[in-house]
């Protein structure tokens, strides 16, 4: 099969292609931000689907947490289902530092990352003895105890008990970013202008846009670091463990160290995701981190594609948007209304999970890559 375009790695053409793809992505990202900052809904039939930045920000948070799952499940091959535990842990630490010690949000990451990393390593220790299904059991148990831990009376002072912990933190865009001016400029584009709302941005919209960009920057850094990790020596060790533990050990890989590091990295990412989540939502409440969330994160992992970094982004979007859209679907032809009320989102995610595992084991990102290969082929001269 001949692709329509063939690019060689290292050539100018290839570089231009990379730069233009990245520029296009950033442009689309910014345009979406400005377009959906205030209204952001699409109407299909009589149903209205929200696409506001709140959901996209949540998608970023879930995406980072799913990235963690990619490291431990996708690349190291350990069936760990307990990501919601670390997601919640990061959220609660960030909320506690911001609310009780009035730290700025970004600084809390300095505590969230190491503490979640350590906790992940500690919980990774039993995984040295416990394998496969048993690990799935244990981590599922771990995920289900998180809400009961934060609801403990003795921790009430820190966690706010069943009511949750309000952060009360307001994001304020720095004045050197001309958000208002850009919005103005976009609104003046003929024909497309109305998509970007009208009038200057309110304070709330500005802070929302700022959060969107800030979270995206944090997430980009995480993705960049993980993509480097995967390509480097520890990453190759992880993949060797996934493919065959015994032969990895025989090849001189330190199983214990690699596994615990993989758990630590995954948990740290879960913590960052949780911190982003609580920064967006403004409250950490126990039921946002139940075992159901752990399963939803697995759904994101599988639907996006196990063992692909892009899959984490797709998975985050799926998790943030599909349950929400499902619950705002009020009428569909030929479906009785009764079936559209209740937890339809969970139903759809469950069905997606089963169907994708059956028919598209690589998830959406593998399918996208296949389509891309039809058009653009990248050759690596060093491999010839």
């Amino acid at each position: 099969m001949k692709a329509r375009f063939t690019l060689t790695k290292g050539s100018t053409q290839y570089r231009n292609y990379r730069i233009s793809v990245w520029a296009l992505l950033i442009l689309i990202f910014l345009l979406i931000g400005f377009a959906f900052v205030d209204v952001g809904s699409i109407s299909i039939g009589s149903n209205k689907y929200n696409l506001s930045l709140i959901r996209l920000n949540k998608a970023i948070a879930y995406g980072v947490a799913i990235l963690g799952l990619q490291v431990v499940v996708g690349y190291t091959g350990q069936i760990a289902l307990g990501q919601s535990f670390f997601f919640g842990m990061g959220a609660y630490i960030a909320a506690w530092l911001v609310a009780d010690h009035s730290w700025p949000f970004l600084l809390t990451l300095l505590v969230v990352v190491p503490s979640c990393f350590l906790a992940g390593m500690i919980f990774g220790l039993p995984a040295l003895r416990i394998k496969g299904l048993y690990l799935a059991l244990l981590t599922f148990g771990l995920a289900s105890i998180f809400p009961t831990i934060v609801k403990l009376d003795s921790l009430n002072v820190y966690t706010g008990g069943a009511n949750g912990k309000l952060t009360g933190y307001k994001f304020k865009a720095p004045s050197w970013i001309p958000l208002d001016e850009i919005a103005q400029m976009l609104q003046n584009i003929p024909l497309l202008g109305p998509f970007f709302g009208d009038g200057p941005l309110s304070n709330r919209e500005e802070s929302r846009l700022w959060k969107y960009m800030l979270f995206a920057i944090i997430a980009t850094i995480c993705f960049w670091l993980i993509s480097n990790l995967i390509k480097s020596r520890p990453g190759r060790a992880m993949r060797a463990i996934r493919d065959n533990e015994t032969s990895a050990a025989v090849s001189g890989i330190n199983l214990a160290l690699t596994k615990t590091i993989s758990f630590g990295v995954a948990s740290a990412l879960g913590g960052i995701g949780g911190a982003i989540y609580v920064a967006e939502v403004g409250i950490a409440s126990p039921d946002d981190f139940s075992s159901l969330v752990a399963i939803y994160l697995i759904v994101g992992l599988v639907v996006g594609g196990v063992g692909t970094l892009e899959g984490a982004i797709i998975g985050g979007l799926v998790y943030a948007l599909i349950p929400d859209w499902a619950s705002s679907t009020q009428s569909v032809a030929f479906v009785p209304e009764r079936w559209l009320q209740g937890p339809t989102g969970s139903l759809i995610l469950g069905i997606l999970l089963i169907l994708l595992t059956l028919f598209m084991p690589g998830g959406i990102s593998t399918a996208l890559k296949k389509t891309k290969k039809k058009y653009i082929q990248i050759q690596n001269p060093s491999l010839k």
Partner: protein, 296 residues
């Protein structure tokens, strides 16, 4: 002393219910070395079917048996349609499939019956059978425990004295060799799934028939963790171990946690997960399970 006895009785009650779900988990583990995370939800759905049949006017025990048959058929269908397509040795896809089933079954039950708690038929006589001081042992506890033993005896006979039981044991001991002996592996595993679902439905019905409980779609969420731990504690491939594990978890929950001052009451779930951790780390074969030997 009264309090202690009362807690012991409570432990017996809860433990029997956990044991019944654990039995279902063990049946599937024996057959396919798979932990069915959807087992609790399958059982919950089965109990709802029982409730619906009862509401339509069937006598309650007929409703229970019909419900068991229906959920057994459904589980057999699920096994044929989905589970059999996968390689039993590759765990990740199967775990993911059962998690998917977990979400779907939970959502279906919530869509059909909503989240309002509903009263379940009282399968057993009211009142207490035995009163020692202030401690009461209710008829419910006795019957729950009794039916747990009954189910295990029936399963024991089924697996050890019948043809299908023999092929089930053959498949669970060595899948490849039993295929070579001419055992139809697929239908046997399907039978295992159906049997497990029926046992689970029975367990959930008993659990929901507790006079202090009502049935609602999330009834098995917590119970699943307790049952998983019970199954692991008893040894994942041992039926009688499931009973032992269930009772142990029931007693840990109602007796031990109450008497250890530094564990707050709400920590029963966490204590259970800690037990799970200890068992899996130090004795993965549990009380009565077969020791796994790994060939390197």
């Amino acid at each position: 002393m009264d309090l202690f006895l009362q807690r012991l009785f409570d432990g017996l009650t809860n433990g029997s219910a956990y044991a019944l779900i654990a039995v279902a988990l063990v049946l599937i583990f024996k057959a396919t070395t798979l932990i069915n995370f959807a087992q609790g939800e399958q059982a919950m759905l089965g109990a709802f079917i029982v409730l619906q049949l009862w509401n339509w006017g069937l006598p309650m025990w007929i409703a229970v048996i019909t419900g068991m048959l229906i959920s057994g058929l459904l589980a057999g269908g699920l096994e044929r349609a989905i589970i059999r397509r996968f390689d039993p040795a590759d765990h990740l896809p199967l775990v993911i499939i059962t998690l998917g089933l977990f979400l779907v079954l939970n959502a279906v039950a919530a869509i059909i019956w909503r989240y309002d708690p509903l009263a379940f038929p009282q399968l057993f006589p009211h009142g207490s059978a035995l009163t020692i001081g202030n401690a009461r042992l209710s008829w419910y506890s006795i019957f729950a425990f009794g039916s747990c033993i009954l189910v295990l005896l029936l399963l024991h006979v089924l697996l050890n004295k019948t043809k299908i039981g023999l092929s089930f044991r053959a498949v669970s001991s060595n899948l490849e060799s039993s295929r070579l002996c001419g055992i139809k592996v697929g239908p046997t595993l399907q039978f295992g799934w159906a049997l497990a679902a029926a046992a689970g439905t029975f367990g959930a019905s008993i659990y929901a028939a507790n006079p202090v409980l009502q049935i609602e779609p999330s009834i098995m969420l917590r119970a699943l963790i307790f049952s998983i731990t019970a199954a692991a504690l008893g040894g994942l491939d041992s039926l009688w171990g499931a009973l032992l594990g269930g009772l142990t978890i029931g007693f840990i929950q109602s007796v031990l946690v109450q008497y250890i001052p530094f564990i707050p009451n709400e920590m029963t779930l966490a204590a259970t997960v800690a037990v799970l951790l200890i068992v899996l780390t130090f004795r993965p074969s549990g009380f009565l399970g077969t020791k796994a030997v790994e060939r390197v």
